[in-house]
């Protein structure tokens, strides 16, 4: 097939494709949020949806995140499938009460009489030279909450398949899209409607010496680190967790059982992040098989700096390689 016939899409285009597919296939899917209509979203994730599906299914909301959260709960309880956009993850806090106290609990509270099949999409992460609050990675705050699913795609294909699955899912899903990857590495992607599972990790590269676990934008650096290490003859297995709540520990466990060494990479500040849960769960399961302590490569426990210092904040390929070396050379 010649280059020009190949339909390469970026991650943000894949999100758009999934939204369009879901809305075509299921009339109960509605999209709402700030600037999602005429403007197609500040990143263009909802581009063209208003034209195709009209004002009733693509709703520009007033500027109020609490309202976006609460409205989605009410719509979902009515059997709609709202896909709400929070413009940046740093603005989700006002919606927290509705996510934690209602979306995550309505089914349990009513013993299944009502439920909350909503998706909250939000761009996440640093590295795009954006202003303050446009760089957050607070997936851990949601991953702590029973009743939620938290999904973070790291490629166009996974964005497409996971978003479709998230919209199908009968329970609330927080769907976080790494802005740094929005326009990186376009992939060939057919609009097949094929879902990806919400309860398994994705092994992106097989290896036998060390397991490199990551999610979101850091998967990108993790793959680069694995490639560098391969040149040195080290065989690294790279796993994209993708669904950080609930966690598919079985896949992670099997890999670490095989390799005996593990490095976890994430962009969120270190303390009480998802990396801690993965590490402690793995220790509980494979303690005797571990050949070295699990390393965490993370942002430090500081707020994301404004963009001049942003590069220092984010885990770099060199940091990951270093951590892998440490694990590999552990006495």
């Amino acid at each position: 097939m010649s280059e020009q016939h190949v339909n390469k899409v970026t991650l943000v285009e894949a999100v758009n494709m999934a939204l369009r597919r879901a809305m075509r296939d299921d009339p109960s899917v509605v999209v709402l949020g700030e600037d999602v209509g005429t403007n197609g979203g500040v990143f263009r994730a909802t581009l063209g949806l208003r034209d195709e599906f009209g004002f009733k299914r693509v709703l520009d909301t007033p500027l109020a995140e609490t309202m976006i959260g609460g409205l989605s709960v009410g719509m979902a309880a009515q059997g709609l499938k709202p896909v709400a956009e929070i413009q940046f993850l740093g603005f989700i806090y006002a919606a927290m009460e509705h996510v934690v106290s209602h979306a995550a609990r309505l089914r349990n509270r009513t013993r299944g009489r009502l439920s909350c099949p909503l998706v909250i999409r939000s761009p996440m992460g640093a590295g795009i030279r954006a202003p303050e609050h446009h760089c957050e990675s607070v997936e851990a705050m949601f991953a702590h909450i029973p009743g939620l699913r938290v999904v973070i795609p790291s490629s166009p294909a996974r964005a497409y398949g996971l978003l479709l699955a998230a919209i199908d899912d009968p329970d609330p899903v927080i769907f976080l899209e790494p802005t740094r990857l929005y326009r990186m590495n376009p992939q060939v992607l057919e609009d097949t409607g094929q879902r990806l599972p919400l309860d398994t990790c994705f092994t992106l590269r097989e290896g036998s010496d060390l397991t490199l676990i990551s999610w979101g934008a850091s998967v990108h650096e993790s793959l680069q680190a694995a490639a560098q290490l391969a040149e040195q003859g080290v065989s690294v297995e790279v796993i994209d967790v993708a669904c950080v709540k609930p966690l598919d520990l079985a896949t992670l466990e099997a890999s670490v059982r095989k390799t005996g060494r593990c490095v976890i990479v994430h962009e969120a500040p270190r303390s009480c992040a998802v990396g801690a849960e993965i590490a402690s769960s793995l220790y509980e399961r494979v303690w005797l098989e571990l050949l070295a302590p699990i390393q965490r490569v993370t942002a430090p426990d500081i707020p994301p700096p404004l963009f001049r210092m942003e590069q220092h904040y984010l885990p770099q390929v060199a940091d990951i390689v270093q951590a892998c070396d440490d694990a590999l050379n552990y006495a």
């Binding site: 609490t66 309202m67 009515q78 059997g79 209602h102 089914r107 439920s115 520990l249």
Partner: protein, 362 residues
């Protein structure tokens, strides 16, 4: 010229049950009026029973609806079955009239989630009582949005207290209801207190109804102790909403005759005199006086109804107390549609633990 505002106010019955002006046409229906009164009485008796059950440890903390019966009963009576009620925790009156069962209400306050499962088909889509203040107002807007998106002529009705009107959720709800012209009715049960905080400290505006102005929606005050006033205005608001004419905020002026909940002691923060005055204006006696004055009700009706009501309540208490224990897996089975395989281990542990404890307890 400073900003000026005028807020409509409706009252038909004076505190002693005498009429002020003439009644609206719908009120020319003795059967309806007696039904409303009986439902209010039933509600109050049930409320008393719930407090008694709490005092003897048979249910947990309970929020009394004493003094708010006109509001809840009117709402419950007027809503159609396929409308959706999105209530707060002081809505026993509306919920009972809608079809929620007494034993369900006891189960809920008795610490059992099955109390919100609701058996009656008429309330399948109603929300359970909402505890986080004012959040329900937004859920109602979501429900109303769903009606509007699907082109259905249904209405969402949501209730809250005076305190709730200070919380962003309530105000954001009014705003989106206005911006989207949603079929939703907001009923504020202004019972003058938010636990220990009096209405005057909650907001400097003379009425809470005028919060509607900022959202560009209809707003009005009614005497919440006057069943005629509440019924009339809620009916009008439901009608407007159903006909696509937009949302309404109705502020019902009432009084919380009870403590905030059974965990509260209102004598710490409000005066005997104020309470006494409020009792002189309460809704049940007021409607009863009207009915008696117009020979629609008498002592024998009263006795007959009291006895039937008590029988029903006792049956509900018996049913409540006979409810079997929850299945051990219940607290897990409704967290997700399907318990995640990733958490299989936790499930096994939980089941073992619960059955172990139950065995030990005999």
């Amino acid at each position: 010229m400073p900003l000026t505002i005028k807020v409509p106010y409706t009252r038909y019955l004076a505190p002693d049950g005498t009429l002020q002006g003439s009644l609206p046409a719908w009120a020319d229906d003795p059967a309806l009026l007696c039904r409303l009164y009986k439902q209010m009485r039933l509600t109050r008796l049930f409320d008393q029973k719930a407090i008694a059950l709490q005092r003897t440890g048979r249910i947990g903390t309970y929020a009394s609806t004493l003094g708010q019966e006109a509001i809840g009963v009117a709402i419950g009576e007027l809503m159609q079955a396929d409308d959706v009620l999105v209530p707060y925790y002081r809505d026993t009156a509306a919920q009972l009239r809608r079809g929620v069962r007494m034993e369900e209400i006891l189960l809920y306050w008795g610490g059992d989630e099955r109390g919100c499962a609701y058996a009656d088909p008429a309330v399948q889509e109603d929300f359970p009582p909402c505890v986080p203040i004012a959040t329900q107002a937004l859920h109602a807007c979501g429900v109303a949005s769903a009606f509007k998106i699907r082109g259905e002529h249904r209405v969402a009705v949501t209730t809250c207290g005076d305190g709730a009107t200070s919380k962003g959720d309530f105000l954001e709800a009014l705003n989106v209801a206005g911006a989207w012209h949603l079929p939703v009715v907001f009923v504020v049960n202004n019972n003058q207190w938010a636990i220990s905080v009096p209405r005057a400290m909650q907001c400097a505006a003379p009425t809470l109804a005028q919060k509607a102005a900022g959202a560009g929606i209809a707003g009005e005050q009614v005497d919440g102790n006057d069943m005629f006033a509440v019924y009339d205005r809620v009916q009008a608001a439901l009608e407007r909403a159903r006909r696509g004419k937009g949302p309404t905020l109705i502020e019902c002026l009432s009084y919380r005759l009870s403590d905030h909940t059974t965990a509260d002691d209102a004598s710490r923060y409000r005066s005997e005199a104020e309470l006494k005055q409020a009792w002189a204006e309460e809704p049940l006696k007021r409607l009863q006086s009207f009915l008696v004055q117009h020979r629609l009700w008498d002592e024998s009706h009263e006795q007959a109804w009291l006895s039937e009501a008590q029988t029903r309540i006792q049956a509900a208490v018996t049913a409540y107390e006979a409810t079997a224990a929850q299945a051990p897996a219940d607290p897990l089975d409704y967290v997700y549609a399907q318990w995640p395989s990733a958490l299989a281990e936790q499930r096994a542990q939980w089941l073992e633990r619960v059955s172990h404890t139950r065995t030990q307890e005999g």
